[in-house]
């Protein structure tokens, strides 16, 4: 098996476990979580992020911040596969006394670098982490995953201006550009085109990629081994499909936050290869 095939298998496993987590937990923001599966797979399993689940506070670790905190179930599923939490802990999602909230909270489980959920915070927080690295001469990277609807928040652009001004070259913002927000298509609410043009205009190096093609994502995330400390920050605009991998959820705003009915569940089980025993 090639490395890429292995990553595709991991993505398929995460997508399946993500659905099981949301379904068994009684709900979650499923659509946007599904659209970021390949991005998270590339970051955590494609050799991008430096991390050690046995030493999650390592000062030299790369930092990942899920600014679109409503995709918490994807973060938890990814962290479980990366060894930060157990499968048993993942299965507590949605149950009484769980440590896995509807939005990630720092300190609840290892691997969560910031409390997010209110949109427009994660990139601002990350500018501080990236600035601290620069001040301390550290070479860790700071990665932030934003939603596209989140880019309607003014604070995102405050942070974007600051990061460019300070040339925070070890800061990478990835925008999950699925072009849907909670109620409708972005273009029918507050359109963002040209999203790549906006980040460029704010002083960032911008790469557009297919957000479901792991090879392309890895290519976009690579190639910055030199001159980090005097480079512009980097934005990766990942073109994705909200609800990716479950046919009737794809590109449907309805599936921002919803659980399937019995008929729909049959389709999901077929498409994600889920057995009866895996669902409760």
């Amino acid at each position: 098996m090639t490395g890429l095939e292995n990553l595709k298998n991991i993505a398929a496993k995460i997508r399946k476990e993500l659905f099981i987590t949301v379904y068994n937990g009684g709900g979650g923001h499923i659509g946007g979580a599904l659209s970021s599966v390949e991005i998270m797979t590339a970051l955590y399993f494609g050799g991008v992020l430096k991390y050690d689940p046995r030493n999650p506070e390592d000062a030299e670790r790369d930092r990942f911040i899920l600014s679109k905190g409503h995709s918490s179930t994807l973060l938890y599923t990814t962290l479980a596969n990366a060894g930060f939490i157990s499968a048993q802990t993942l299965a507590t999602y949605g149950k009484p006394d769980t440590r896995l909230g509807g939005h990630p909270k720092i300190g609840d489980i290892p691997g969560v670098e910031a409390t997010t959920g209110a949109l427009g915070h994660g990139l601002c927080f990350a500018t501080g982490i990236a600035l601290a690295a620069k001040l301390d001469g550290k070479n860790y990277g700071t990665y932030v995953l934003l939603g596209d609807g989140e880019c309607q928040e003014g604070s995102v652009w405050e942070a974007a201006l600051f990061a460019a001004q300070r040339r925070l070259g070890r800061l990478t913002a990835i925008v999950d550009y699925n072009k849907l927000q909670a109620m409708d298509k972005l273009c029918n609410i507050i359109g963002l085109e040209s999203l790549a043009g906006k980040w460029k205009a704010f002083g960032w190096d911008v790469i557009e990629t297919n957000g479901h093609d792991i090879a392309q994502i890895l290519n976009a995330l690579g190639g910055r081994e030199e001159n980090h400390d005097d480079a512009p920050p980097r934005a990766i605009i990942a073109h994705t499909v909200k609800g990716k991998g479950i046919s009737f959820m794809e590109n449907e705003p309805l599936w921002h936050y919803r659980l399937p009915n019995k008929e729909e569940l049959k389709i999901v089980k077929t498409e994600l290869n889920i057995s009866d025993e895996e669902l409760i």
Partner: protein, 313 residues
């Protein structure tokens, strides 16, 4: 107060390179000395308070001790949710510093007058709040911010506050200070308006009304023990603040008194559910808004008389 704060920050930065000065484009020259002496510890975030506050939290998550400074309304109101979620909820070691408390920006109008910030900050868990009364106290409060491991808010005026302490004194976070003894009533105040309370108390002495004046330099945690003692010993409590009376010092003291079974004659002085009126010097602003020494003396006089009348019935 501003100079005292900058002096303290300069001292702190010299001792610890993790102390950082974050500002939001404030003042053309006031940070010049700091910028010259500690260029690697100085960051002007531009006019973007939300990013400055959350970025400060990110810095703190990596061991830095950022002092994020700007005009208090822009800090505590514009960036409120960032203070809540990024600083207080995550218990990040960020030091928030707001200038322009009360009417200290005198003629600049209500957008610049910090008259609701105490209420907004007081409701936030995990936040220690200092509201010093003089330059000397500002210096000590800034040092106390650095010593406290966790989020703090330091409420400052601007540059013309009078000194009330003739000599050195112990600044103990969470412990109020009796500046003047008295037995007929207590004025419990916060910030530099304490000077007006002292002036009013002095005038009332000539009328044989003995007024205790108490400085609450720490809004949170509040010195409940001292407040209850003042109520029990003097019978009347007048709270005084350059702030709205709702949710500020007066509200905090009312809660404390009632929860301790204490119901003295009680008057809250401050802006009574309104924004400030007029444009003028700080003294003129206080006069136009019912907070001059004469206004204070009148309220205390009325409270003492009402209290003794009630006592006779």
């Amino acid at each position: 107060m501003r100079d005292a704060y900058l002096s303290a920050l300069h001292h702190l930065a010299g001792e610890n390179k993790n102390i950082l000065a974050l500002i939001s484009d404030n003042g053309a020259i006031v940070y010049d000395k700091f910028r010259r002496d500690f260029p690697q510890q100085y960051f002007n975030y531009g006019i973007s308070e939300a990013n400055m506050v959350a970025s400060a939290a990110g810095l703190a998550s990596c061991g830095k001790i950022p002092f994020a400074y700007t005009i208090t309304n822009f800090l505590t109101m514009r960036a409120f949710e960032f203070i809540r979620n990024d600083v207080c909820l995550q218990e990040m070691n960020v030091k928030l510093v707001g200038t322009g408390a009360g009417f200290s920006y005198s003629t600049l109008g209500p957008t610049h007058h910090g008259t609701e910030d105490i209420a907004l900050m007081r409701v936030l868990p995990n936040l220690v709040i200092f509201s010093p009364a003089s330059p000397k106290e500002t210096y000590k409060a800034a040092i106390a911010c650095a010593k406290h491991a966790g989020p703090t808010y330091l409420r400052l005026g601007t540059s013309k506050e009078a000194e009330i302490y003739n000599s050195d004194y112990d600044f103990i976070p969470g412990r109020g200070i009796i500046l003047k003894e008295g037995c007929d009533a207590s004025i419990i105040a916060t910030g530099s308006i304490i000077c007006d309370a002292l002036e009013a108390a002095e005038a009332l002495e000539k009328e044989k009304i003995s007024v205790r004046v108490v400085n609450i330099h720490t809004i949170k945690p509040l010195d409940g023990e001292l407040i209850v003692r003042c109520a029990r010993e003097t019978g009347a409590v007048i709270t005084l603040e350059e702030h709205n009376i709702n949710g500020g010092l007066g509200g905090a003291i009312a809660e404390t008194l009632l929860e301790n079974g204490c119901a003295p004659m009680f008057v809250r002085m401050g802006l009574d559910g309104a924004f400030c009126k007029g444009y003028g010097t700080r003294a003129e602003m206080k006069r136009m808004n019912g907070l001059s020494p004469e206004h204070i003396a009148a309220k205390v006089r009325d409270a003492v008389r009402a209290g003794s009348k009630a006592g006779r019935q």
